[in-house]
Assembly symmetry: D3
């Protein structure tokens, strides 16, 4: 029996609950309203149109609601879509929102423990206090937000998972190159994308906020460090604070990518490289999972529109990979 969106093929009839991930109200040629919807669960996303929407429909069917959907899966222009037969709002408490959305491979609790362990390794007192203060302030969102609107780690907990991946790599680099300051590298790693909790609107229907558009997460987080210093009585122009602020503002590596200064610290250069490495591996892996061995992926926007080849020779390696 078909229970999830990922099970559907062209021609299938089905009935099961799904999430309204995105809902746009539009006007048809006949001047009536319709809803352009993205349905989602934790396995896939599919589009569909709800025609002749009444004022009540528009009020009821908003993004974030779970609906019990009866429909048919169809192929159109080479892509699957949903033909809606009936659709009604699920009773409150029947389903948890969490069942319908994609999550990080680790639980929030697991990630929380790893973060705590990492903060413990920041032995420089000022950096430790600043990181602790800001994680306390934004911790709720940190474990829920995605790391990006799309591209990579675009799921609940993606921000935390991406941060942890970089921190793991960072620890290995510190082992191999003892000249690297682990406190600084970890403090920078933990804070580098935390501003995304202000830059983005949240894990569902993710949009850029006004601060996100006009300031960006780099400037936002720098401001948050300044504000934190005022509250815990650290001078934000101390050399140690300036070093940490530089870690944040330089982490995009190039001015063209939005860093007002390019890295001028060994640790800042490494943070930039590891950030890019984790994002790159994740983007390629995500794209490769959509195609079969022996094929090229779609062009990946975030990697200069390159396509990547999934070798037949390595087919067995791609089983059971998490995101």
């Amino acid at each position: 029996m078909l229970k999830k969106l990922a099970d559907l093929q062209a021609g299938n009839d089905f009935e099961f609950p799904v999430l309204l991930k995105q809902v746009d109200v539009r006007t048809a040629r006949n001047s009536k309203k319709f809803l352009a919807i993205v349905f989602a669960d934790d396995t896939a996303e599919l589009p569909g149109k709800f025609w002749d929407a009444s004022a009540q429909d528009i009020k009821d069917f908003v993004a974030g609601k779970v609906v019990l959907l009866t429909g048919k899966c169809e192929l159109y222009n080479g892509s699957l879509q949903i033909k809606i037969i009936t659709m009604k709002i699920a009773e409150a408490n029947t389903y948890s929102l969490n069942q319908f959305i994609k999550h990080a491979p680790l639980s929030q609790k697991q990630m929380q423990e790893q973060i705590n362990e990492l903060i413990f390794q920041i032995t420089q007192p000022k950096w430790n206090r600043i990181v602790r203060f800001l994680f306390k302030k934004y911790q709720q969102k940190f474990f829920e937000y995605p790391a990006a609107k799309s591209n990579h780690h675009d799921y609940v907990g993606g921000l935390a998972y991406h941060t942890l991946s970089i921190a793991n790599l960072a620890q290995k680099v510190c082992q191999q190159y003892p000249q690297v300051d682990q406190s600084l590298l970890l403090a920078g790693t933990l804070l580098h994308d935390l501003g995304k909790t202000i830059e983005l609107s949240g894990p569902l229907n993710t949009q850029y906020t006004l601060e996100g558009n006009l300031l960006g997460h780099i400037v936002i987080m720098d401001g948050e460090i300044v504000a934190a210093c005022q509250q815990i009585n650290i001078d934000s122009n101390d050399e140690e604070v300036v070093l940490l602020r530089h870690m944040i503002i330089a982490h995009h590596g190039l001015n063209e990518y939005g860093s007002p200064k390019r890295p001028q610290l060994l640790e800042a250069e490494i943070l930039h490289a590891l950030d890019e490495l984790d994002a790159t591996i994740t983007m390629i892996t995500k794209a490769e999972k959509r195609v079969a061995p022996g094929e090229f992926t779609e062009r990946i926007f975030g990697l200069d529109n390159r396509r990547f080849f999934v070798p037949n020779a390595l087919a067995s390696n791609n089983d059971d990979i998490k995101n």
Copy 2:
């Protein structure tokens, strides 16, 4: 009688007081120390070497001191330089430092009045309070600092003078284009380079500070606005504050020039254009004053190494231009 550096020609003997603008201690081939000095007064700058410097000389002759200098002006490799005959520290109180350094064409008092008048025209209350708070905090340095290490407005009061020039242009643009918000444009103009009071070390022997190198005046000033908001109880994420912060961070226009975001407000685009226009006119004028009509200037680094032609036809226009 020769009284100023600008009077000297190759072969002249002279005796008058000058400022030690820059002093580097170096070791000669014979392993003795010598001082590589830049002498300056308000008319010109000339280099000279003080050989066989004793430990006492090194202690006495530091940048910022005024000396009574007896010397001869010589031509070397096509440039004038000073051959030092005798040199002694001027009595304290004999000369004011101000006599020996280049100043803005307006007095500090004149500039202060104009700034006050401009702040008065910022009618939006939050912007007015933020600007007022920050000018009170940095006003001393604002009227003393240069606008740049070299290139343009590199003299005492240059920062204030450059800011006023842009503000004058801004007012004219507001008259011609009523859709421009004058409060926002003036608030952004007044604050846009104020971070240079932290980025640079001061009006003499100007160097980049650590904050200047690792953060830059754009990020510094954004942090100062955040800190100011905390102190005067304004939420730094209010739309009005976000707009003002965007004015600062976007004023270099391009990511490549250090702006983490490109202008996304009409007023931000205008501030960038006027900043560039005033700097450009000033750089060209400074270079043109060094050559005769009918000649091309030296290549101007800040203008893509272009050379500019001083027409014979316009020779009379270049008399008596200030800065």
Copy 3:
């Protein structure tokens, strides 16, 4: 009662005169001809299709005609369009073409007076004679042509209005920076885009001419200056003429934008900056008028595809702005 295109909403029936601004003859899938029309008046432009066009229809309904149109306004793919019910050519003399096309905010007479005043301020005799000669030759077109095919000042009189806006800014710059030669700057300003009267086909249905495509308005105007000099007996290699020609050929600022030489005169650099400033303000304002406060504009092609934000905070400033 509905009288203008800007009044129409989806579902409205209407009958009023409009201009055929653009008419393309095409063949439908059934092999019959149809007309793809852009209707216009001085308030808006809307597209519509005239099906099954006879040979006579094709001959009658050409761009530039005014028709009495009976139709219905419909929404299609999110845009309004006209469903034509009946359409007939308006009697000659019933309507003036001028009623149906967008004009500069100033009348031709007002602009003519301002231009005369500006020419009067060009006190250098050769420049004055050349400018006077060329304005006499092209004055008719100068006051009718747009300043560009689209982007900015794309209306009747746009070329003159754009030229005057720059000239106004230029006068203010000359007041603030006395080292600028006002004669040269104004002469260059008045001529800089005059070549567009040859580069473009005219104010309606604007296209690039062959000269426009293969030579461009920069080279065209340089040739016109050479030809003018021959007719009024000035040597086109005189320094003064070379300066003026340089003003024209350098006004795009960068080789990449079609200037064969980058600016090498202070006045040429300023002309380039003011040209860009006026075009930029105009493009942003035009885009902002299409969206509500709190929204971002569409991407603006001429500004590197940037979007601009219309602040809620400044909403009251955008009332009653011209062009």
Copy 4:
């Protein structure tokens, strides 16, 4: 016996006539004047300094004079230079200037005949008349000027020789690709660099003129075509003339290299390619003649600072190559 500059090696004493190709008057550290001279004959160029120059010396020893020079050849910083022992102006009429300067491999008479033959092949009447008119006007300079200040074809007659080389290639291309219009390609070829007779000062001590700096040879020649048309009663906006003007203004291929329009005619694209090909071959050959087989040349500025390898395998091919 040593008779030419190319014969000299470090340590040689010599006495023979040479040309003063370049003479700069400078002031030595001891405040006396000296002359920095470039001596030349048709085999080589070598620098030397004439110390303690009197006012009479400065007046006598100017660029363009032939002197009887007694001197010694020395090695300094890895380069040969002349130590002047005595030097006196050669009697007028003793030597012809031509003996001392480098010339094109063909005589002016040979080149004149080839040019005439090429003009004869321009069968389109307007292009033929324009080319004929302009060659009559500038023919004297055309056969004397170099094709560039340095880089390539920087000798007497270089402009004509470069033009003929391209024209030869052009004829071969027309044979192989009959779709190419030979009249247009040859007319464009003959005129494309003719503006250098105004852009440059002449074959000796070559400098850019004011027109050269502010307009450039591309714009200069376009203006000359316009002026020519006026004098021979051709409308400079005829399609044929516009095509020819486009050939000139597009021949640098890229906006970045000073063409206000990129090629939009097959013939314009070919002219650009052949111009580049001839210049490239000539630059590489010139550089390769300065090094031995098995070595790399110096970096060639005009070819993106690339170095080229002279293979041992091909050593025999490089004998007796002209220019």
Copy 5:
């Protein structure tokens, strides 16, 4: 009577044999399969759709088959397309595939003779042996493959024809510039694109192979030279072989275009220039044949999206040109 695709106009009914050049199996909205076909003969290509394709149809109608097609020519969205009425596979042996595909203007025999003549002119023994070995190995494909997937010389024999065109130009350049080594230039010319026989899948339905995508024809041919040397006992690190390998790897001219080294030999620079020149002329000519005199071509992707103008003045030149 209509016999070829190029004869068809909108509304024509026809029946004649054509080639299935490309066939894609897709699923329609009604979940049935259909075939998206490109029909071709040696005069033109036209698209059409075969609806409701059975499993047998899918098996029968594959690319490379000749079918007897009854259909109607229709205009859709401004382009001609085929409405299929009946379609059946042509009897084997009824038609030769060659009748339906575009060929080089020369026969394979003619091209073979010219290639033999060229190899004869490679007088350096190692280069001669390597070229002979590789042409023997790949000669079959060399005379059948296109020179590119699309863009230029995209027909049977295009690779050989493009190679010969360059070789002809190369011989002319060697005549004009005797310093060029003809053996090296011809050996490099003959081999430069030979790797395309491995990079591409063949003359019909041309695709990139895995080697083509991951290595490219430049690296492929370098490897082939190394392998050839092993088989005919030449050391692949001999200077002569290194020169030849450099000719191949540098022929794209710029790193950005896939050459791992830029040209460092005179002959390598020339090969790059002539390769580009022949491709450019061919692309422009191909585009110009699709439009009438007085019009601009479509934008040409391979030439930076430029459009080219077909002058009225030159209309008579474009008759009877071979591709």
Copy 6:
């Protein structure tokens, strides 16, 4: 007692054995020969000049010899140099060359063992055999050569040490991201720079060879893989071999850096990133060791001329770092 070059300060007299690392024969202004020498031991390098060199001196004092040097250390233009008093060739067998040159932090034996262990982990049979074959062929040079002429790992064994550093990082990445194929990543890592044993001349007096200049180590190693396949009977166009060849040719990441193809395999992208990361960390560390805490390094050419800051705060971390 002073025993090593690193001990010397300006003014010191000394006598100890050193290596002649580089010797250039030049001619002085007095026409006599002299030797420009770089002296080296395993602690430092210093320049000196040997004047009036006889033919015998030139024959004796060649690069690679150890000499017993009596001299004085002097400061000149801010840099230390050696004034040679006496210098004589050390007896053969008195000193081992190894004493005087910088080595990798690991012994050759240690590195050999690690390499063997890594090859053991390449479980794919074809890759294992190819790697084994090529390491057997080039192993001697692999453990002696530097990884670059200068920049980073420019010492004996640098190539092997750099390769091992990347391989260590690669193993960690494989642990963290199980979707990465470790065999392919390690095989590519081990071979990626092996071509430098042909591109460079050796560990002392390192120069580019002709193959290095005209082909580069990327193309060289691709050719070596092809040749190896022929010798061990593997088809070089097998998918597995194509994958490995792609790892080599794509490892510079960008066409601009000499890769004829950009990475199209996950493993190729990772190899590129880790190669860059190790080189970057090494370059920064090398530069930081030359300056004191609180200072910026010199500009690093290989990192876009950026300078890096050595924080006071982290001073204790930089003790005892290897290479």
